[in-house]
């Protein structure tokens, strides 16, 4: 059982998330041109964007089915971004979970150290699983870990409850360099405790070249999706390379199933909270309906054979080699795919996975994570170094270097993705109505979310719905009571 402080805190976080109704949407504001494209005029290729600045344009399809240049609303103030802060000499540690970013981050650190003589920043990297489990234990006793990363939801809450997060609200780079809406996951009671650096889009990637070759279109509703699976399977191709044997990425499609499962966000949040706190069972009609759709996808041939043994090493390989049409994870999966097959660069696009036949409430998922925070328990000198480096990361050229080098969209204003074709190609998702990944509303990760996702995976692999959900509900309730 959690201590009262945490329970109260979690409740506050839920409240904050209810208020999030967050979406990066195309607007109809007038003005602006960029690189020759004209706002409101017709465009030819959906998804082409001119960047992510306040003046960027994006080619989106309107309700009338026509492609037009629209603007990406960034939710930012009109204030100009500010330059990075200066750091005092000293040495700090920067703890994070992305070994694949080490080289790019080191290049950025080298630049920062050159601008700030006497400053040294050492990266301390764990893989994401170890980081999830061990970061708090390690960082909470290490004052030198002046800059660290948390993921949205349970881990951020844990560090907050431990008093590890320094309030950085008063820094101008926070209010002027970061897309305001992206700050939500790091905002508690109006105060900002970190910069969620990455803008992830946890929606399925599809092979646009393959779609064009076979004349397939992206399914727009649940019936079309099941029909699409049938058509793709008939060609001997795996419709969805769903890595069910790897819980982390297997759980990504749960976001899509959840996003349109309730009449509104408040109801969805309340239902999730009820399960997360043990007040509701997985056998509730709402959750059973979601489980039935997993089963229907399996029965409809959407998933590969023996899907529960299909892991996240095989899935991107099948997608990269043209054996699968869709890799249902997110933008963060693109770099893996292009590493496996460089010729996939430019062929990946992002789709909305709509699992209802009614008008969808949301068209996709986003997540602002990799929350960079300053350690409240570090010395003031180390905090100032960490804060200065954070402000450096929040400048557009540096954020762009990170984005292009790591194939990640970022939450910093004025970043241009033109140098990375895959980021550019998937930027059209920003023009859709997106929901902040609801999977992370389950804050009891070990006790609730993991067993719940395991149950859905098993059902997606053909397990009996009633038995699986009943057994898992019992396990969850017992674990919550321990």
């Amino acid at each position: 059982m959690k201590a009262k402080g945490i329970t109260t805190f979690s409740a506050r976080r839920f409240g904050a998330v209810v208020a999030v109704a967050f979406a990066l949407v195309a607007t109809t504001l007038p003005s602006a041109t960029a690189a020759g494209e004209v706002f409101g005029k017709a465009c030819t290729t959906e998804g082409i964007s001119t960047g992510q600045s306040t003046t960027s344009l994006i080619c989106t399809m309107g309700a009338n089915g026509k492609l037009t240049w629209t603007r990406v609303r960034l939710g930012s103030s009109t204030a100009k971004p500010v330059a990075a802060l200066k750091a005092q000499p000293g040495t700090i540690e920067f703890h994070h979970w992305r070994p694949e970013d080490k080289v790019v981050l080191q290049s950025i650190i080298d630049k920062f150290e050159a601008l700030n003589p006497g400053v040294h920043i050492n990266q301390v990297i764990m893989n994401s699983v170890d980081y999830t489990n061990l970061a708090y234990a390690k960082i909470s006793v290490n004052k030198k870990a002046a800059l660290f990363v948390t993921s949205r939801g349970g881990q951020f809450d844990q560090f907050m409850a431990g008093g590890m997060m320094k309030d950085i609200s008063s820094n101008r780079y926070v209010s002027q360099n970061v897309i305001a809406s992206a700050l939500t996951p790091a905002t508690v009671s109006g105060r900002v405790y970190g910069v969620p650096y990455q803008s992830l889009f946890n929606n399925p990637l599809y092979n646009s070249e393959m779609f064009a070759k076979y004349g397939w279109t992206v399914p727009k509703n649940w019936t079309e999706l099941l029909g699409f699976c049938k058509a793709v399977k008939a060609k001997g191709i795996i419709p969805f390379a769903w890595p069910a044997a790897t819980r982390g990425n297997a759980g990504q499609i749960m976001n899509s199933f959840l996003m349109n499962s309730a009449p509104d966000l408040a109801t969805l949040t309340a239902r999730i909270a009820a399960i997360d706190t043990g007040k509701a069972d997985l056998t509730s009609d709402w959750f059973v309906d979601i489980a039935k759709k997993y089963k229907a996808m399996n029965d409809g041939g959407c998933f590969p054979d023996n899907v529960t043994g299909y892991n996240d090493t095989v899935a991107p390989a099948d997608f990269a080699s043209g054996k699968a049409a869709i890799y249902p994870t997110g933008t963060f999966g693109m770099s893996t795919v292009t590493k496996l097959n460089p010729s996939m660069a430019g062929k990946m696009k992002m789709m909305s996975m709509i699992t209802v036949d009614t008008k969808p409430l949301y068209q996709g998922i986003t997540n602002n994570t990799f929350i960079l925070s300053v350690n409240a328990k570090s010395t003031s000198r180390d905090q100032s170094i960490a804060n200065a480096f954070l402000s450096f990361l929040a400048t557009a050229p540096i954020a762009q270097e990170y984005a292009v080098g790591t194939s990640q969209h970022v939450s910093i204003i004025n970043v241009d993705y033109a140098a990375n074709i895959d980021l550019l190609n998937t930027s059209d998702i920003m023009g859709k109505k997106l929901l902040l990944a609801p999977r992370f509303l389950f804050v009891n990760v070990g006790t609730v979310r993991n067993p719940l996702e395991d149950a859905l995976i098993a059902i997606g692999g053909g397990a009996d719905i009633t038995k699986t959900l009943t057994d898992t509900s019992k396990t969850i309730k017992q674990s919550l009571g321990a």
């Binding site: 708090y136 095989v314 321990a482």
Partner: protein
């Protein structure tokens, strides 16, 4: 012994004791302390007496299921690993070049990292293109979803564990079997004993002390088989391959129930102690050792 000599000896033992106390004694006692607390690793621990233990015994079906998994896993691995190791050691007893080369081959998996072994076997077990299913299909046997099916995952990991550690036990057995006086075999041959009779009446009884070591060591290995399980299935699907060590890890680091995880750890220690005691007792009865 003079008093000053005794002081010197104590002083000399102190560094080793300090390391032992810091790295083993303190964590172990802390674990006992936290097993009586409700603690999430962040806020102040709260004393709850025996609640963690009573809840484990009366309300935690998952713990009981995992305990059962661990017993089955342990039983399978101990039986197969011990028998295979003894069999191979019997054949590789003589110090010929071929025997030594084969001992190295058998021992080789032991030096690999367990995570690497897990990843390699993940590929071998892949249900759609893995080597094992390909072999089975080539002789007309349908493949299995080894790691993705609740019915097979535990056995698949047990097989990997046996492959991983049998070589190590072969080496222990070879060392033990080489201590058996050669004259006993020569006398048996003169008496016309077959190879099987020699094994049954000489090798097996004389190898019992070594078997005791192998069985105890293997049992302990099976109760700490964390890396292999974590890298292959993370305890899934649906906890079908969860072991006590993976459950404890998840209780502490994913569910942040550190006090409860401490209580689970205490149970684990007692289970291993009890099993080791029972095995020692059984083998001692067989050898007549007091």
């Amino acid at each position: 012994m003079k008093k000053t000599e005794s002081r010197v000896l104590v002083a000399m033992a102190f560094p080793a004791f300090a390391i032992y106390a810091f790295l083993y004694l303190y964590p172990s006692l802390s674990n006992v302390y936290y097993s009586f607390q409700r603690w999430d690793g962040v806020t102040k621990p709260e004393f709850i007496g025996l609640h963690n233990f009573t809840y484990l015994a009366t309300n935690d079906d998952l713990f009981m299921k995992v305990l059962g998994n661990n017993f089955r896993f342990s039983f399978i691995v101990v039986i197969f690993q011990t028998l295979l190791a003894l069999l191979f050691a019997t054949f590789l007893l003589k110090n010929t070049k071929t025997s030594i080369a084969l001992r190295i081959v058998f021992f080789f998996p032991t030096i690999l990292s367990s995570v690497s072994v897990g990843l390699i076997w993940n590929f071998l077990y892949d249900p759609n293109f893995g080597f094992i299913n390909a072999m089975l299909k080539s002789v007309g046997i349908p493949g299995l979803n080894w790691l993705g099916d609740t019915r097979y995952s535990l056995y698949a990991i047990a097989l990997t564990q046996v492959w991983f550690h049998t070589g190590q036990m072969v080496v222990i057995y070879v060392a033990g079997l080489q201590q058996i006086p050669q004259e006993l075999y020569e006398a048996a041959e003169v008496d016309g004993a077959s190879r099987w009779q020699q094994f049954k009446n000489i090798t097996w009884p004389m190898a019992l002390p070594t078997t005791a070591v192998v069985v105890a060591y293997t049992t302990i290995q099976t109760f700490r088989a964390f890396d292999l399980v974590y890298s292959m299935t993370q305890g899934g699907p649906l906890n079908s391959s969860d072991m006590l060590v993976t459950l404890i890890y998840n209780t502490a680091f994913s569910s942040y129930k550190w006090g409860y995880a401490s209580a689970q750890s205490i149970i684990l220690v007692f289970v291993v102690l009890l099993l080791t005691y029972l095995q020692r007792r059984t083998l001692r009865l067989n050898t007549g050792e007091k």
